[in-house]
Amino acid sequence: MTDPLLEIKGLSVRFFTYQGIVRALEEVDLTIGRGEILGLVGETGCGKSVMARSVLRLIPDPPGKISHGEILFKGEDILKLRPRRLREIRGNDISMIFQEPMSSLNPVFRVGNQIQEVIMLHQKVDRRRARGQRWRCSSRSRCPIRSRFSESIPTSCPGG
C-alpha cells in the first residue's frame, strides 16, 4: 500500500474546564488512504466532531488542548505546522462542512459571495475572476448559476 493520505496516531484531546478535565479523545488511531472514503459513526458526544476539528486544528484553546499524538497529512504533521502553511491546507486540501449551514454562513453577506471567498483565499485572483470560477463550479455541480439562493442572504434561505 502507498503512503496514506491522512494518518492519526495516538491523538488525545482534553478540555480544561472549571469542573475538571474532560478527556474528549483518548489515544485515537486512524488511517485514510488515497481515494478512500471513511464514515465515522458514534453516539452523541463521543467525540466525532472534536476529532474532525482537531484535524484542522480548530479546537478552541482555551479550554481545549491537543495533549498528545500526531496527525500526518501527506507526511506533514499538522500539529507542528506554521500558521501560514496551516492556512494553505485549510479549505484547500482539507475542508470541513459544519453541521449547521444556517449559522456557518455570515448573515450579512450573500451566499454566493461566501463561496467565492474561499476561492479568493486560496488563489491569487481578483474579485471578477473569482466570480467567474464560482460560476463555473456551480454549473459543474449543476446548481443554477444565478439562482435566487446564491444571491440571497443566508437568513432568507430555507434552512438545511
Binding site: 485549510r90 479549505g91 456557518s104 448573515p107 471567498e117 483565499l121
Partner: protein, 291 residues
C-alpha cells in the same frame, strides 16, 4: 459600459432601491433624512440662499431684533445671524462628519483587533482606552487642542481622539459575541487569517451598531467642538460656527434672546435629525430584522 455594470450588479442595485423604499416607508427615518438633507442643502447653497456676507461688520445695525430684513436678527457686530447660521452649517457639519469618520474608523479597527486577538493584547488596548475614557471628554479635548495649537482642524483631531474609545469599546463587545459564532470557525476552516476575518466577517457584523453610535457621537462632537471654539481653541473668531455663536450669544441672552437661541435651535435640530436617522437606519440596514 453602464449597461454592463448594471447587468453585473443588478442584485446590488435592486438591494439599494429596496433600501430606499424602506427608508421612505419609515416615517421617523424619513423625518431624520429630510432634516439632514435640509442641513446639507443649506450648507452647500448658503451663498445662493442669503445675500449677506456672514463676516461683514456693520456697526450701525448691531443687535437688531428679528425683522423682515434680518429674519433672525443681527449680532453685536451687526452681522446677519441667519446667514451666519447658513455658513456655519458648513463648519459644524464638517466637524461632526470628520470626527465620526476618524474616530469610528480607528475605534472600530482597534476594538475589533482587541476583541479578536484577546488575552494580553486585549488587556493592553482596553486599559489604554480606559485611561482616555477616565478623563472628562471636554477636558482632554481641550488639553489636546491646546497642545496642537488653536485651529479648527486641530480641534477636529482632538475631538476625534477623545471619541475613539467609545467606538473601540462597542466594537470590542460586538466582536466578542461575533467571534464565537459558527461562521467564524467556518472561515478559519476555509483558511482565512485573522485580519481577513476581522475585515470580512467581524467588522461588517458590527456596522449597524457603529452607525447608530456614530449618529450619537456626531451630535456630541459638534457640541464639544463648539465648546472649544468658545475658549478660542476651535473655530477662530470671524468664522461663523454654531457653538461659538451660542457661547458668545449667551452674554446677550437677557436682552437679545435671538442671538443664542437660533444657532442653538439649529444644533438641537441637527443632533436630533442625526439621532433619529441613525436609529431608523439600524432597523433598515440590519439584514436580520430587515423587511
Amino acid at each position: 459600459m453602464w449597461s454592463r455594470y448594471r447587468k453585473e450588479h443588478q442584485w446590488q442595485i435592486k438591494e439599494l432601491l429596496f433600501t430606499l423604499r424602506l427608508l421612505g416607508r419609515n416615517p421617523s427615518a424619513l423625518a431624520g433624512f429630510l432634516i439632514i438633507a435640509a442641513m446639507l442643502f443649506m450648507a452647500v447653497f448658503a451663498p445662493v440662499l442669503t445675500s449677506y456676507n456672514p463676516v461683514r461688520i456693520s456697526l450701525g445695525e448691531r443687535l437688531t431684533s428679528p425683522s423682515s430684513v434680518h429674519p433672525f436678527g443681527t449680532d453685536e457686530l451687526g452681522r446677519d445671524i441667519l446667514s451666519r447660521i447658513m455658513y456655519g452649517a458648513r463648519i459644524s457639519l464638517r466637524i461632526g462628519i470628520l470626527v465620526v469618520l476618524i474616530a469610528g474608523g480607528f475605534g472600530a479597527v482597534i476594538g475589533a483587533i482587541s476583541g479578536y486577538v484577546g488575552k494580553r493584547a486585549d488587556n493592553l488596548i482596553m486599559r489604554v482606552m480606559d485611561v482616555i475614557l477616565s478623563f472628562p471628554p471636554l477636558v482632554l479635548a481641550l488639553a489636546l487642542a491646546a497642545a496642537l495649537g488653536p485651529d479648527l482642524n486641530n480641534a477636529i483631531l482632538a475631538v476625534a481622539f477623545v471619541m475613539i474609545p467609545k467606538f473601540a469599546r462597542l466594537v470590542r463587545g460586538e466582536t466578542l459575541a461575533v467571534k464565537e459564532r459558527q461562521f467564524i470557525a467556518a472561515a478559519r476552516a476555509a483558511g482565512a487569517k485573522g485580519l481577513w476575518i476581522i475585515r470580512h466577517h467581524i467588522l461588517p457584523n458590527c456596522l449597524s451598531s457603529v452607525i447608530v453610535l456614530a449618529t450619537l457621537v456626531l451630535g456630541e462632537a459638534i457640541l464639544i467642538a463648539a465648546s472649544l471654539s468658545f475658549i478660542g481653541l476651535g473655530a477662530q473668531p470671524p468664522t461663523p460656527e454654531w457653538g461659538a455663536m451660542v457661547s458668545v450669544g449667551r452674554k446677550f441672552l437677557m436682552d437679545q434672546w435671538w442671538y443664542a437661541t437660533f444657532p442653538g435651535l439649529f444644533i438641537l435640530t441637527t443632533v436630533i435629525g442625526f439621532n433619529i436617522l441613525g436609529d431608523a437606519l439600524r432597523d433598515i440596514l440590519d439584514p436580520r430584522i430587515r423587511r
